[in-house]
Amino acid sequence: MNNSINELPILTRRKIANLLVTQALVVAPILMHLPIWIGALWLAVVSWRWLCLINFFPAPARNLIHIITIGCVIGLYLNFAGRVGMDAALGLLTCTFVLKILEMQSLRDAQLIIFIGFIVTSTQLLLSQTIPAAFYALLSCAFLVGSWRGIYLNREKPIIQSLKRNASVALQSIPIMLIIFIILPRIAPLWTMPDENTPKTGFSEDLSPGDLSQLVRNHEAAFRVSFTDEKPAASELYWRGLVLNAFDGRTWSHAKETNQAKIEKNYSSSSKKTNYQVILEPHGHRWLFSLGQVINVKSDQISFNVTNENLIKSQEIIRQRLDYQVTSQLFDDRRPEFSTKDENLSEDDLNFYTKLPKLGNPQTRAMVSEWLRQGLSPQNIITEMQKKIASEFSYTLQPPGLGNNPIDDFLFLTKRGFCEHFASSFAYVMRSANIPARVVVGYQGGIWNEIENYLLVSQADAHAWVEVWINNHWQRIDPTAAVAPNRIETGIDDALTQNDQALLSRRWQQSPWLWAIQKRWDAAGYAWQKFVLNYDNKNRESFIETLLGSSDPWKLGLNLIAIIFVTTIFVTGYNWLTKRNRSLSTQDKLVRVLEKKLKIKGYYRNSNESLSRFCQRVAIHEPALSRQLNLISKQAETSLYATSTFDPRELKRLIYQLKVS
């Protein structure tokens, strides 16, 4: 027996055209992530193949393909400078995918393209995992299956019919996929993948005037939080991310970990505690966000530690969406916010937290010396400063530029600024007055989504505030709250003037229904993240448990067998019921109707009795029907010998007119 591939149907034009369209769909999102010349290569290959298809161009010679392949490898090497990373691998895969279509000749080549196509589709999902991306990948799969089926189809079918049959593949396989997705346990990565360069988003590691006022114009989500208990008040939602403890005259930065003692964990049971889960968007940094004083952190995905500054810091850069649970103690008026065991800063720390550049900002220094000369206590100085801000300053997204003495310029000249200006100058004033102070950068507030009950914190909520060491504890002071209380209570939009709001360009917030859609969309994305993307062994267990009452393997197996059994019975029964009638010709169906009618009268057709015989027999007993039965049997007989031209309508009319009762 000759099993060679040549015997098989050849690769027709239609099949090649299908593959070209499918490839375009599959490769398009990948090309956007790759150097532009790969896109150009793809375009050239498609055009070439198309010209071959319409017999305008000869097929490329094999040697030429080899030369192009070598060219591509060199191009990739130069592009990625020899770095073997995710991007380079993706480039190589895409080049293979694209070039394969150029040399495609046999069905086996076409089959290989389909397989590579599925791998490329799954890399689409490594690049983006949003709902639209998932639907796009599903669409890619649908096209791949369609072209795949087309390879083994010899005759062209009407589009509707082939769509129907493609849909039947999808409708049958998607439920199976879902079952596998739900019940199959997840396995830890088998090896670590090469690092990718995650773009850094959010704020940077230091803070200069103007940084945050740029950032808040960005509406991207920073993280989403769901609270186990009640949501804390808006004024409590200070998401601490980074502590900046060194000032160089213009920029606050993080200089070192202080040797301040570890935070003692003697929390009083009376104080307010809150449990929450954060889903953090990858931001390319190491810091995680938390409220108040961190008591406990849990995460399966990363290892982390809680610093002396009471911040959660990951060991690795956050490249993937991260999900972690925190228990925090919120700020309580009666209790110091961050207490330390030896409730005093060491001499070193005291110096460190009051350190300022020796020169600059003379006006501010003079003001503080004046206060000190008046003998104001630290608490008084704080109040004095807050009063000053509340009375003389205004909050704006477009602060005027600051000169060489930025604090002086801000405090005495421009008096208009954004939160970083207030925090920076406030901390400066505190340090000048010998009060230990530091700037904290993070987010404040967030938008509550009542559809899925979570808090969406976006870049627009970026904020900076101050912590001062007073009464042997670090106390949070938000100078912005003095100038723009709305900023804290209801969010940035209410705190700004009309003019500034236009800069934020949250146009959708102006139209209530657009805003509702936006909220709904974000809720869908959150649910997607929580239930699909984060579906892991833990979720799996609890989900199966809610579904079946227990996650014992034997119970799962039993249920699975039951599902398969019921489905099989259902499908077989359905097939049996439909096939029995549908495979009959129209005439046969009509004869069935006739038999049923006569059965009511008590006449049964014998298995070996011809229809005309049967009709005659009944006619003898039922003279009233004899004329009609005669006509019917004649029509039915005609139908037997003229299958192609026979018009069943007459027979149908006769049979349906037959009155039996």
Binding site: M1, N2, E7, L8, P9, L107, R108, Q111, L112, F115, F118, I119, T121, S122, T123, L125, L126, Q129, A133, A134, A137, C141, V145, W148, R149, I151, Y152, L153, N154, R155, Q161, R165, S168, V169, Q172, S173, I174, P175, I176, M177, I180, F181, L184, R186, I187, A188, P189, L190, W191, T192, M193, Q301, Q320, V532, L533, N534, Y535, K579, S583, S585
Partner: protein
């Protein structure tokens, strides 16, 4: 080398075992219906390729902790499963009926005709039919529309040809599953000896009287032609003239050109098979030339005559000479 030879012998052993098993389940019959009893599905090499693809995507999904990439690998697994169903559904219910065979000469492809009917509403796609020794025929069928398909089988020897197992297989819909069956169809064809040019057999027996001239009308004018009329035997067309583009003519009095000839077994001295081949050759020659001819075999004799039926009778005797049905069936 050795391993490939070992492989081959293993394959042969496996095939023979498999065929025995299949034969048991698919007895010789005139009509077969494909059901779960006789349809087999098994992944093929492309199925292996799909498995490798699934593994690659699964590794990607696992190593990047990407649930959606994992979902794609699960989707492919379920497509694989669905492909088994659909590959089975494509062929299930197919009714194969033996219709007949036209005789041929040894070494030719013998044309066996079978009728295929599928009850599947969506028809039957990409069905490959083949005898163990023959070309693959690929057909597509519409629902409830019986179609007659000619499946050729190569013949090697004269006698009766039992084409043995008909392989019906399909890789539809996705190529990853081969759904197949072997069925034993009750079909047979007469294979005439392969015509071989050789010495013309001469009359040996003394049947002089039978060599009388069977003259018929128009016999006096050898080579006289008339214009071809529909209904004239194709054998009497003057093909040489036609080849010279002189139009179609019928040789009206050809038969009178010749006297009676005898295909005499005893006049030739070749080995048996060769002798039969030469006799076949001359039978065809005489029939073509319109000569009356008879056959003289050791135990059978056919009186001289001409015509299609006569030729067939003679060729049949030559084909089955000293060869019983059973012998061929067993081989």
């Amino acid at each position: 080398m050795t391993s490939s030879r070992l492989n081959k012998s293993f394959d042969e052993w496996f095939d023979s075992r498999l065929n025995k098993w299949v034969d048991k389940r698919a007895p010789l019959a005139n009509t077969h219906k494909l059901t779960q009893r006789n349809l087999y599905t098994f992944p093929n090499r492309i199925g292996l390729g799909l498995s490798i693809t699934i593994l690659i995507i699964w590794l990607l999904g696992t190593n990047f902790q990407n649930n959606l990439a994992l979902a794609i690998s699960y989707l492919l697994i379920s497509i694989f499963v669905v492909a088994i169903w659909q590959a089975y559904g494509n062929l299930a219910g197919l009714v194969i009926k033996a219709v007949g065979a036209s005789p041929g000469f040894a070494g030719d492809d013998i044309r066996f005709t079978i009728q295929l009917t599928t009850p599947n509403l969506s028809g039957c796609e990409n069905v490959e039919l083949s005898w163990p020794d023959g070309k693959k025929i690929i057909v597509d069928l519409d629902a409830n529309n019986p179609s007659e398909i000619v499946v050729p089988c190569r013949s090697h020897y004269r006698g009766f040809l039992f084409p043995k197992r008909l392989t019906i297989q399909s890789r539809y819909p996705l190529g990853v599953i081969r759904c197949w069956t072997h069925i034993n169809l009750d079909l047979q064809a007469v294979v005439f000896p392969k015509p071989l040019a050789g010495d013309e057999p001469k009359l040996q027996t003394g049947d002089e009287e039978s060599e009388s001239h069977h003259k018929t009308k128009g016999g006096d004018d050898p080579g006289s032609l008339r214009n071809y009329q529909p209904g004239d035997s194709l054998k009497h067309i003057a093909w040489k003239l036609y080849a010279r583009e002189r139009g179609l003519h019928t040789k009206e009095n050809e038969q009178t050109l010749s006297s009676e000839k005898w295909l005499d077994w005893f006049s030739l001295s070749f080995p048996m098979e060769h002798r039969l081949s030469v006799l076949t050759y001359w039978a065809l020659q005489y029939e073509q030339a319109g000569i009356h001819y008879g056959l003289n075999l050791p135990e059978k004799k056919i009186a001289p005559d001409r015509g299609h039926k006569h030729l067939n009778d003679i060729l049949f005797l030559l084909a089955t000479f000293e060869r019983s049905n059973l012998e061929v069936k067993i081989s």
